[in-house]
Symmetry: C2
Subunit: 386 residues, 2 copies
C-alpha cells in the first residue's frame, strides 16, 4: 500500500520547494528579494531594476537595464486585440466588472493570442519573453479597464515617464507629481514578492504541470482575488472614512472590537513584529504629509494601544494594507484600483517563481484522504434515489 | 524559530485535505465518486445524474433530477456577452486559438460578468448556483469556439437531445448516432473526477483564499493545459496514424523505444494495474466496432508485449488517453477538441472540490526553503552591477 504523509492543515510550515527568489523572516520583520533587503531595493532602485533582479537573479548593469527597457517598451501598450476586447470586459450588463476580474480575462486572452507555448516545450529565453510580455502589458490592461469603466478611452504610456509615473498617468490622464510617482514606485517595489503565498504557490502548481506562463499567471490572479489573500487596502481607507475624525477614534475602535470585527489593516500571519512594508510605507506617506497621514498615524497608535489593553499579550501591528491604502489615496489611485495596483508589481514576483518552477520537471500533486461512505456501494435501481 | 516540515518533492503522497468526493486506489485499479464505483456510474447513469451526485453528495430522485435539469437549462447556451466575445477569442492575428485557452478566457469573462462573489462572502446555495452556471455554459463555450475557428456560427443546444448528444451536435451541427452519443456520455462520466490531481488541487488552493468559483475554475483550466497533466488523447491517435497499418506495428514500437521516446497512451503514475477507465473505454469502443478498434487493440497488445520484453518486470498498461482518443475519433470529435472535451466533464469534478473546500476557512499556504546567497547583502552603488 502507498504510505501517506500527514502534515498540518493548509500545508502550514510545509516546505514545498527550494527557491533562490526570496524569503520572509517573520520573527525578524525582514524580507528579501534574492540576496537584497526588499526595503533597501525600494529605497535605492527603480521598479525596472528590481524586475530585472527578480527574473535575471542579479541586478543589471546600466547597459543591461537600458536593453531590458527596450525589450519591455513595445509591450507596454495594449495590443490591437486588447483594444477590441477591453470595452467588452470593463462593463457587463450587470455593471462595471471588478478590474482584477477583467485583468484575469484580458491577460488570458493576450497570452493565448501570442500564443504562449507550454513551458515544458520551450527554452528559458522563450519563457522569459512570455513573462516579460505579460508583466509589461498588465498596467496597460488594468488602467485601460479602469478608464473604460469611467467612460474614458485607454491611454498609451509616455516615453518620458518612469514606471510608476506612467501607471498613474494611464489611470488619471495627468502627469503625477514626483512625490506621488515616487511613493507608488516604492509601493510597487515593496510588493513584488513575499514568500510562498497562496497566489505564488498557485502559479507554481500550474507551472509544474508544464503549462504556459499565461496559464500560471491567470491562476495566480484568481488566487489573489480571494479575501483571505489579496486583502483590500481600500478597506483600511474605508475604516478611516468611517471613523470620520480624531474625536471618534476610540469609540469606533471599541465598537468594532465589541462587535467582534477584525480591524482591517492590522495583524499578519507571518510577521510577529512590525511589518517592514508597513514601516517603510509609513515613512513614504510621512514624506508626502497632510491631514490624512496625521490622522492615520493617530488611528494606528490608538488601535495598537487599545488592542494591547483589550487583548493583552497579543501584539498586533499594522500590516501592508494600512499604509498602502494611505499611500495610494495620497497618490491619486482610485480605491477600486488599490488591489489591482498590487497586481502590477506582484505579476513580476509570480513570473520569477514560474521561471524557477519551470526548471523543475516534477509535477506538484498531493493527495487527499477519502473520509466518506466506503465504496463501492451498490447503485440504486437506475441510479436514482428512491 | 518556526519549525519547517520536510516532505517529498512535488508533495508526493502528502495528504492536503480530507474529502468526501472520491478517491483513486491505484493498486486495485479502482476509483470512485462519492460511495459509487465510477465505472458503475458510467454504465448505469446519465451525465446529469453523476453531476448531481458530485455536487449534492447523493444521487437524485427522478423529481430532483428533473428539477436540476430545469435549473441547468437556461445556462446551457451562450450569454449575449459570450456571443459578442467569442469571435474575438476563437481566432487571433496569429491564427486559431487553442480551444482550452479560449475557454479559460471566455469562462473568466462570463463568471466576472455574472458577477460571481467570493465564496467566503456567500452561502452554500449561492456558491452552488455559480458552479452550476459555469459547468452548464462550458460546452457552449467550447463548441462555440470550435465552430467559430472553422468559420461556422455557434449553435444552441436542443431540448430533445441528451447531454453528450448535444455536445456532439453543437460541434458538428448534426445529430449524432445513439452509439456515438452513448460512447461520449460514458467518456464524460468516467472523467468527471480522479483524485487530487494538479488541476483539482489548483482549484482548491484558489478556493482556499476565499476567491470566487470562477477564479478557481479558470486556474484549474490552466493547470489542465499542462502537458504533464491534461495529457493529449490526440497524441495516441496521432501515433496510430503514424503506424499506418498492422504490418508496421512492431517496427514502429521498436523504433520509438530505441529513440528513447515514451509511447503515448501507456503508463500512469497512480495505477499499478490496468486503468479502469481504459478498460471501460475499450469495451465502449468495441461495442461500436470498426477497423480502427481492431487496429488499436492490436497495437495495444503488441506495445504491452514488446514493453514486457524490452523492459522486463516493469508492467505498463494503457492509460485513459489511449481508448479515449479512439472513442472520440469514432464519435466524430475533432482531434483539437479531445482535451477540451475532457474539460466539459472535469469542470463538474472541480466544482465539487471547490464547494467542499469553501466549507473550510483555512488558506492553503505552504513554505519554500531559501537556498540562494544569504541576505542582506549590501546593495551595489545605485543598484547597478558594475
Amino acid at each position: 500500500m502507498t504510505e501517506f504523509i500527514e502534515v498540518p492543515k493548509g500545508l502550514d510550515r510545509v516546505i514545498v520547494a527550494d527557491t533562490e527568489i526570496g524569503d520572509v523572516r517573520g520573527e525578524e520583520g525582514f524580507y528579501h528579494y534574492r540576496q537584497y533587503s526588499a526595503v533597501d531595493l525600494a529605497e535605492h532602485c527603480s521598479f525596472e531594476q528590481v524586475w530585472y533582479l527578480m527574473t535575471h537573479a542579479e541586478l543589471p548593469t546600466r547597459a543591461q537595464l537600458a536593453a531590458f527597457k527596450d525589450r519591455v517598451a513595445p509591450h507596454r501598450k495594449l495590443t490591437a486585440q486588447l483594444r477590441e476586447l477591453l470595452p467588452h470586459l470593463a462593463v457587463s450588463e450587470n455593471g462595471p466588472v471588478a478590474p482584477l476580474d477583467g485583468l484575469r480575462t484580458a491577460l488570458s486572452a493576450a497570452c493565448a493570442a501570442r500564443p504562449m507555448r507550454p513551458v515544458l516545450d520551450i527554452d528559458e529565453d522563450a519563457r522569459a519573453e512570455d513573462a516579460l510580455f505579460a508583466c509589461a502589458v498588465t498596467p496597460a490592461i488594468l488602467t485601460g479597464l479602469w478608464r473604460l469603466s469611467q467612460g474614458q478611452e485607454p491611454l498609451d504610456p509616455r516615453d518620458d515617464l518612469g514606471y510608476a509615473a506612467n501607471y498613474l498617468y494611464m489611470i488619471t490622464g495627468e502627469v503625477p507629481t514626483e512625490a506621488a510617482a515616487s511613493a507608488i514606485e516604492h509601493y510597487l517595489i515593496l510588493t513584488v514578492d513575499h514568500g510562498f503565498n497562496a497566489s505564488t504557490f498557485t502559479a507554481r502548481v500550474i507551472a509544474s504541470t508544464g503549462a504556459d506562463v499565461g496559464a500560471a499567471l491567470v491562476g495566480a490572479i484568481g488566487a489573489l482575488s480571494g479575501p483571505l489573500h489579496g486583502g483590500a487596502p481600500a478597506r483600511a481607507l474605508d475604516a478611516l472614512d468611517a471613523i470620520g475624525g480624531p474625536d471618534n477614534i476610540d469609540a469606533w475602535i471599541r465598537g468594532e472590537l465589541e462587535a467582534g470585527r477584525r480591524i482591517m489593516g492590522f495583524g499578519h500571519n507571518v510577521y510577529k513584529t512590525e511589518d517592514p512594508r508597513s514601516n517603510h510605507l509609513r515613512e513614504v506617506a510621512t514624506a508626502i504629509g497632510g491631514d490624512i497621514v496625521d490622522f492615520s498615524k493617530t488611528v494606528e497608535r490608538r488601535v495598537v494601544e487599545i488592542l494591547a489593553e483589550v487583548k493583552p499579550g497579543r501584539k498586533l501591528y499594522t500590516n501592508v494594507e494600512f499604509y498602502a491604502g494611505v499611500v495610494m489615496e495620497l497618490s491619486g489611485v482610485p480605491r477600486p484600483m488599490f488591489t489591482p495596483t498590487f497586481t502590477t508589481s506582484r505579476v513580476v514576483g509570480w513570473s520569477a517563481n514560474i521561471l524557477e518552477q519551470a526548471r523543475d520537471s516534477k509535477i506538484i500533486r498531493p493527495r487527499a484522504r477519502y473520509t466518506g461512505t466506503p465504496p463501492p456501494q451498490p447503485l440504486p435501481e437506475g441510479g436514482f434515489t428512491a
